[in-house]
Symmetry: C2
Subunit: 407 residues, 2 copies
């Protein structure tokens, strides 16, 4: 049989490592012939845009490069599979492409929405006695997938956020005048990534002095009070804020700065909560203030990836192949944490149906009483995920990336 791997949703620094894991594991099994990569997720399946990964990944050097290339070399999509009762033809079309390429297993690397695709597709195939396995491999810097201790891609994003806020803190402390620096961090529904910045305390930083997450309602009045209180202790106040913070009424705080556009899944594009809070501080407090959006650098800064994350992303990809060979389908691979210190992790499977269209929120019990910072208990959760550095290949002073050839 042949297999196909594809990726979907927003990029991370660890997707390519999962692709490497699928590839490397597959090469060990003589019953797997072709190892295909579909370009742009399900779109590539539907449009016959498949590449032969044995041709693409010739050498060990290629694999090493692939593991440390940000984003996904296979491309991505935001394709939403209709309900089977609304349009069965798409399902039939996908299956006909699978059969054309003699696909025995389909591996889909993605987040919430991608697991929805794996769920619908595997259910359709099971109901119709089509023996093609569909396995979901988690990835999201948001860390908001159910039933897994954490998601591949999150550790590298968290490491970038920690290092960058630490550097921003040095930058912000240079002047003798009072200042406020607001760092806007990705996290549409869940505040894991903004919360992870609390790890800086482990190395003696007091920053971020305030951390705001979407999990608790945000009040602009309380925010201004919080800043004023922190200014009594710190000349340069550093604030970490999730893009998705919501007001009491349930609407996004950044709403007035939004374009109002939605993506294919009905999500609102968010941006500008940092800028909005900057304006608020300027108006209400009047001190020097700056907002910084960490933007896509959070998810693509492979040059400071977490070794733990990149290694785990490969392992979970590899285990996905073993699961399919073991007869699993309609499953998502998950991490199960055995212990924090020493850090021990096992890889298991769960039914993908429980994952799709659910959000794993940051635990309320790890948020302080004032709802403006993270408790120390969370540090031991985050810390293992950002450990280890990788030696990236540089040429002429710039990182080298792997790219799919001839497309």
């Amino acid at each position: 049989m042949n297999i196909v791997v594809a990726s979907s949703g927003g990029p991370t620094s660890a997707i390519n490592s999962s692709i490497a894991g699928v590839y490397l594991e597959a090469t060990k099994h003589s019953n797997i012939n072709k190892i295909y990569g579909a370009l742009n997720g399900i779109e590539g399946i539907l449009e016959n845009r498949l590449v032969d990964l044995r041709e693409q990944l010739g050498s060990g050097e290629d694999i090493d490069l692939l593991r440390l290339t940000p984003s996904t070399v296979l491309g991505s999509c935001r394709y939403k599979l209709p309900k089977v009762e609304d349009d069965v033809s798409v399902y039939e079309e996908i299956i006909s492409h699978f059969k054309e390429y003699d696909i025995g297993a389909f591996f889909y690397i993605g987040g919430n929405d991608s697991m929805d695709t794996v769920c619908k597709l595997s259910r359709y195939m099971s109901q119709n006695n089509i023996d093609i396995k569909a396995i979901g491999i988690p990835k999201t810097i948001d860390n908001d997938l159910m039933y897994t201790d954490h998601t591949p891609g999150f550790g590298s994003a968290a490491k970038y956020v920690a290092a960058t806020i630490k550097e921003i803190t040095r930058d912000s402390m240079v002047y003798s005048a009072k200042s406020v620096t607001i760092v806007e961090i990705m996290g549409r529904y869940a505040g894991w990534l903004a919360a992870s910045s609390c790890v800086l305390r482990e190395r003696g930083e007091t920053a971020p002095h305030l951390i705001y997450l979407p999990e608790v309602p945000f009040s602009t009045e309380k925010f201004v009070e919080d800043i004023k209180a922190k200014q009594k202790e710190h000349k340069a106040v550093i604030v970490a804020v999730s893009e998705g913070i919501k007001a009491e009424e349930g609407c996004y705080v950044a709403e007035c700065y939004q374009s109002g556009e939605n993506d294919a899944f009905g999500h609102k594009y968010l941006s500008g909560v940092g800028k909005m809070l900057e304006d608020l501080v300027k108006k209400e407090i009047g001190c020097k203030v700056r907002s910084i959006e960490l933007n896509v650098m959070q998810r693509c800064s492979s040059h400071i990836a977490s070794k733990t994350d990149i290694d785990e992303a490969e392992s979970i990809g590899s285990n996905a192949v073993l699961a399919a060979l073991n007869g699993d389908t309609g499953k998502m691979m998950v991490f199960d944490r055995i212990s924090d210190n020493p850090y021990r992790m096992e890889i298991k499977t769960v039914d993908v149906g429980g994952v799709a269209n659910h959000v794993k929120y940051f635990p309320i019990e790890w948020i302080n009483e004032e709802k403006n910072n993270i408790k120390d208990e969370a540090i031991q959760y985050f810390l293992p995920l950002i450990q280890g550095e990788l030696s990236i290949k540089m040429d002429k002073g710039m990182p080298v990336h792997f790219r799919i050839k001839n497309i």
Copy 2:
């Protein structure tokens, strides 16, 4: 005699390496007793906030950490020295502090405005037969100081910009739909840093497909045309734009997004040109578009500093001490490039009066005819400055920084 070093203006990743250079050189000369660091530049001199660097920098390990700590451990200021004819008392006050601490030489690490301070102060001291040397040590990520081939801090900023735009390019290419990504880069008056992103071509990238600098007038109509033309060749168009681009009329393109506030030197705070162009593309072209402000990460991402830059920053600090011991005053240290390949550089001095309040613009002859990209000739200028990586000290997965103790 004793000496004092201080820093002023915006932070960079290389200032601390120049402090290390001043310190290490000074320790070699038995006629130099105390090596002071003044906190917050001239403010620290006026307020007796001096630290003894021999106490602070005990070990070789401290020096190694210092060299790779972003920003400036001595803090900075935006203090503008009045003209001597307007207010001589400040000059008298500074001199009295210098005498109190038996200062024989003052080293000021800074950009344009700091060189203005060195110029005024050294002129006043010479005219009044006060034998205290004042030497300027250049630093700015803007690379816009006269008479020096380049400035310490620029190489590390350029390396960050190149690596980051390369990673952003991978991130931007994942979807099959057309998209435009606008990267806003620092550079108030001169476009050196945005221009430096052309080095990516040396490693086979086509991005950035368009580069806009303050040196040539910017037209929003031409910009939209440029984007449309590039979209015929590239699915994901990547644009690098200086924050300081100006319209034909001479006003900043970002003006409508500005707060209108000025800093102590009368500079306008700029931000938002990327956002403005994002809105323009959305309105005029209607494709997926994102703007990314590289913000302070350009100047504080020590974790991806250029070894060449950090080493040179130390050398120029060291040479400043030698210049003062040689009797120089009212000078700025400069780099004189002997050759591009092999890269060879000499350190010399120039009269600081020729540097202060002037701007070295990016050469028009290195801008293409269409005024929307950089010619290949510039690559050989930029490339040596971003070479080499440094092994930064990490602990618990995060960079370790040096900090001044007990203040």
